[in-house]
Amino acid sequence: MAEVEETLKRIQAHRGVFATIVTNAEGIPIRTTLDNSTTVQYAALLQQLTKKARSTVRDIDPQNDLTFLRIRSKKYEIMVAPGLSVGNGSNKSDVSNSPSGKPLISTLI
């Protein structure tokens, strides 16, 4: 528990990180630093996107797998770290700012 906390804290404390979300494999948030409605929205949308991205990667090469997903938009960047495939993984989302002042959202899924 403590390790988990510590890791999460470390990531959250990174410069430019705006928020962190941890979800389970189904996309239900476990741990978050955002408000509930936003968290739920992010979790649902990103889970679908991650699923899609993962399936894309594996369709092209079944031996391959998705390791990281970054979505860079005008205002911020979302980083998604997926867990293991086959329903084992948890989801983690981070919202972070870039050094140029624009916020980055990073998500670990």
Binding site: R15, V17, N24, R31, E77, N88, S90, D94, P99, S100
Partner: protein
């Protein structure tokens, strides 16, 4: 014999054609007697050779063509028949033979096969006779003739002798009646007509004429058809049949099948309860997952820190392109031009100010047009005619919107940033004047709404407008407060600035915060070597009083004179603080023309809400033009680091940098810190950059300079001495490295520090006479205007093109870099100079020592 011969021949024939015989037999059975041909007594037979031998009628032996008759006895035939039964040739005619009356039968050899067989039997005696007898007479005839003859002979043999007919009496059988009936007889005697004509008319020409037959009814007879009723039958009964046909019609319908469809779905997301969350948080899986994943996450975050992920290369490339590409020839486009023949005749424009809130309103102050050299002695001139500040609107280039009146010329004026309806002006006689145009504010704002309407709205005509002018004239606004002559400046008020209300200069000299945040303080300076701080609150009160009194006067319908107003005014308006600028030791006084202060938060009050400046240090594009530079420090409360330094540009061309913090008394002499003499002629512009709070542009005489506060060595940038005089200058409000310089030949120089620092990047001729004032204004992101006033009383409003108005991405940083470099260079130069001086001193010392040494020796 004949018969046997026949038989034989028939047999041979039989052999040849058995079938034929059979058919012949058949034929024979049916048509045995040749009755078809008409010879019933003739029976054709086929005689085989055996038969022919038996009866001695062998062909060509006994019987020939000529001798074709053979008589055969009936008994022989009978015998043959008995002996040979079926195979006898006479078998088919057995009956005939039995019936034959005679004893001998005639068999005739038919060489030509007349009757179809080679023999034939004659069945009757008569025929026999006929045949036998005539053939002897007519043997040369063959075929039918012979046959006929034989027949004839046969007949004649039996026919009795011919007797000629004997006529008998006719017996009528009724035929003559028929004949009679049928015969044609003339019933009536035939009528004979003889028509004759006169001979002379024979062959004569005939003239025909037309007559209508219907006219003369006797000429013709006609039988008109008529309906004969006897022949019309009325059908009383009619046989009719009706057939029913089903009428076929096609039709189709479409039913609306309403099926339930989801219009909206309400759902809520799944959430884990807190226990579940706790559980999953403590689970091993999560731990493992995090350990595996956090490294990559940190790498990603670090990457973002290293480089700016949001840097748009493409866009940056475009900007470089635009800045390095060719600029359009004309960077300033003439937008409007305002002049008034009545008020601005023979007058120059002294000061130009944009209305801070209302778009398109610009105010100019007129002053006497003077040759440049005499400008310093403005105060000597006493002008009795009224001087005006004209308000122009973009939408009405002919008529000024508003006129602020004052007996003396106004050298400079400013809108109150908090309340743009208060205008403070400094006149050439040293007094400070206040106007209140709040009654006209609506009208001014209306002007920008009704673009096409030029007439003054009569409803909004404030009571202040006098009865003197007609309705087409713009409203005249008298000043509402004026400073006391005694305490005003002795010379022209050359610079007037509103101060933000954050500090109050009290007697105790502490700069305290004015929580009211209203700009109620004025800073003026004048070439009488003094700088004054004025406080407005009392004046405001008096304004209200004044306006009330004036209203009263209006109701009495009495004309107002200046004396009335002056009576009402509180003449005790005097400055809070008056600072004399003079050096403490040398007691040289400085006549400041322009003053620049560093101030705190500067806010402009708009009609709706406060619009605070961006205090984060990013360039404020909409920062209104003021002659006081703004600082970007956002500490309102802490006033310890409030800077009380100021720059002063004097009429001798000196730049003085000093601190007005007074130690002891209000009117004590000031301590002057720095003094720079770069310009040779009076400074006409001293302005802080809207982007950098410590960069100041000073324009005067033949050159201009950029200074940085704190750098005491000298200006960062100093221009060459130009041919003409620089009469006006201003920083650009949108680009950090751009400023405008006005010349006395009517040209505007646009300096772009990014491009060239030794000469202007652009040169444009605006007017024919001296440029007196430049004032840029940013109405919106696209609309950047530059107001340029000249000596002829014309105000030109120019539109600044995008290239000049849009800063590039890193222009701010670049300009800052440039300044830094320059500062470094200056320092380096200073250092070098110092070293050089030291070196000089050293060499001097050495020399003096040497001299001394030499002297001593």
């Amino acid at each position: 014999m004949k018969t046997s011969a026949k038989k034989q021949k028939g047999k041979t024939k039989d052999k040849k054609s058995a079938k034929g015989k059979q058919t012949e037999l058949g034929k024979k059975d049916e048509d045995l007697s040749m009755a078809a041909i008409g010879h019933p007594e003739i029976f054709p037979l086929v005689f085989t050779s055996k038969t022919q031998e038996i009866f001695n009628c062998r062909v060509n032996v006994d019987v020939t063509e000529e001798n074709c008759f053979k008589l055969i006895k009936k008994e022989d035939i009978m015998q043959d028949l008995k002996s040979r039964a079926a195979i006898s040739d006479f078998h088919p005619v057995k009956k005939v033979v039995l019936e034959y009356p005679g004893e001998e039968l005639l068999v005739v050899f038919d060489a030509n096969f007349q009757y179809g067989q080679n023999f034939y039997l004659v069945a009757s005696e008569e025929a026999k006779q006929n045949l036998l007898e005539p053939p002897e007479t007519a043997k040369e005839k063959e075929g039918e003739i012979e046959e006929e003859k034989e027949e004839d002979r046969e007949e004649t043999l039996e026919v009795p002798p011919y007797k000629p007919p004997v006529s008998k009496p006719w017996v009528s059988l009724g035929s003559e009646k028929e004949v009679e009936e049928e015969s044609v007889k003339d019933t009536a005697t035939k009528v004979k007509y003889m028509i004759s004509r006169v001979r002379r008319k024979f062959g004569a020409p005939i003239t025909f004429s037309d007559t209508n037959a219907s006219h003369v009814k006797e000429n013709y007879i006609e039988c008109t058809s008529y309906q004969d009723k006897t022949f019309s039958n009325k059908i009383l009964e009619k046989d009719m049949s009706v057939q029913m046909v089903p009428k076929v019609r096609e039709a189709c319908t479409q039913t609306k099948w309403t099926y339930p469809k989801n219009t909206s779905t309400q759902y809520f997301p799944r959430e884990l309860s807190s226990e579940e969350k706790e559980e999953s948080l403590t689970s091993e899986k999560l731990k493992d997952f995090l350990t595996s994943v956090h490294l990559s996450m940190e790498i990603a975050l670090q990457q973002n820190e290293i480089m700016n992920a949001f840097f748009d290369d493409w866009k940056a490339l475009a900007e470089d392109e635009s800045s390095s590409g060719g600029k359009p020839d004309v960077s300033l486009k003439a937008y409007r031009s305002f002049t008034d023949p009545r008020y601005l005749k023979d007058r120059a424009i002294g000061c130009v100010c944009w209305h801070p809130t209302i778009y398109g309103i610009i105010a100019v102050s007129a002053r006497e047009r003077l040759p440049y050299e005499v400008q310093g002695n403005l105060s000597d001139k006493s002008l009795l005619q009224h001087s005006v500040i004209l308000f122009w609107s973009f939408f009405d280039p002919i008529n000024p919107q508003l006129i602020l009146e004052y007996p003396e010329d106004i050298y400079c004026f400013q809108f109150n940033p908090r309340d743009p309806n208060i205008i403070a002006g400094g006149s050439i006689n040293g007094q400070v004047v206040l106007w209140d145009i709040s009654q006209h504010e609506e009208k001014l704002q209306h002007e920008q709404n009704d673009v096409d309407e030029m007439q003054m709205p009569a409803v909004n005509m404030p009571p202040l407008t006098q009865a003197q002018h007609s309705s087409t004239e713009p409203p005249l606004v008298r000043y509402c407060a004026i400073s006391s002559i005694q305490y005003s400046h002795k010379k022209t008020v050359t610079d007037i600035n509103w101060l933000p209300g954050h500090f109050e200069d009290s007697q105790t000299d502490a700069a305290s915060e004015n929580r009211a945040e209203i700009c109620l303080q004025l800073l003026t300076c004048s070439p009488d070597c003094s700088v004054s701080f004025w406080d407005v609150p009392e004046a405001k009160l008096s304004e209200q009083l004044l306006s009330e009194k004036i209203k009263e006067k209006e109701t009495l319908n009495m004309p107002l004179d200046i004396s009335d107003i002056l009576k009402e005014l509180d003449f005790s308006w005097k400055p809070l603080i008056k600072i004399n600028l003079c050096e403490s030791d040398t007691s040289t006084e400085y006549g400041p023309i322009r003053i620049s202060l560093k101030n705190l938060h500067y806010q402009y009050k708009t009609s709706e809400k406060m619009r605070p400046l961006n205090t984060l240090g990013a360039p404020a594009k909409e920062s209104p033009y003021t002659e006081i530079g703004t600082s970007s420090s956002n500490n309102l409360k802490v006033l310890d680091n409030f800077s009380t330094n100021f720059f002063v540009g004097t009429e001798d061309g000196e730049i003085v940098y000093s601190d007005w913090k007074i130690d002891v008394n209000n009117d004590s002499a000031k301590q002057v810190c720095q003094k720079y003499t770069i310009h040779t002629e009076p400074i006409n512009t001293l302005q802080r950059s809207p982007f950098f709070e410590d960069i100041i542009l000073s324009v005067g005489g033949r050159n201009f300079a950029i200074w940085k506060e704190g750098i005491t060595n000298g200006p960062i940038l100093q221009s060459n001495c130009s041919a003409g005089r620089n009469t006006a200058g201003h920083w650009s409000l949108t680009r950090p490295g751009v400023f405008f310089i006005g010349r006395d030949d009517g040209n505007i120089e646009i300096w772009d520090l990014l491009k060239k620092t030794h000469e202007p990047s652009h040169f444009q001729s605006i007017s024919k006479s001296t440029i007196t004032f430049i004032s840029p204004w940013t109405a919106s992101a696209e609309k950047n205007f530059l107001a340029v006033s000249d000596d002829l009383g014309v105000l030109h409003v120019l539109k600044i093109f995008q290239t000049l108005s849009d800063p590039s991405e890193n222009e701010h940083a670049t300009i800052l870099d440039y300044f830094e470099r320059e500062i470094k260079y200056l320092k380096h130069c200073e250092k070098e100079f110092q070293e050089y001086q030291e070196l000089q001193a050293k060499t001097e010392l050495k020399r003096s020592w040497r001299h001394r040494g030499s002297k001593q020796v």
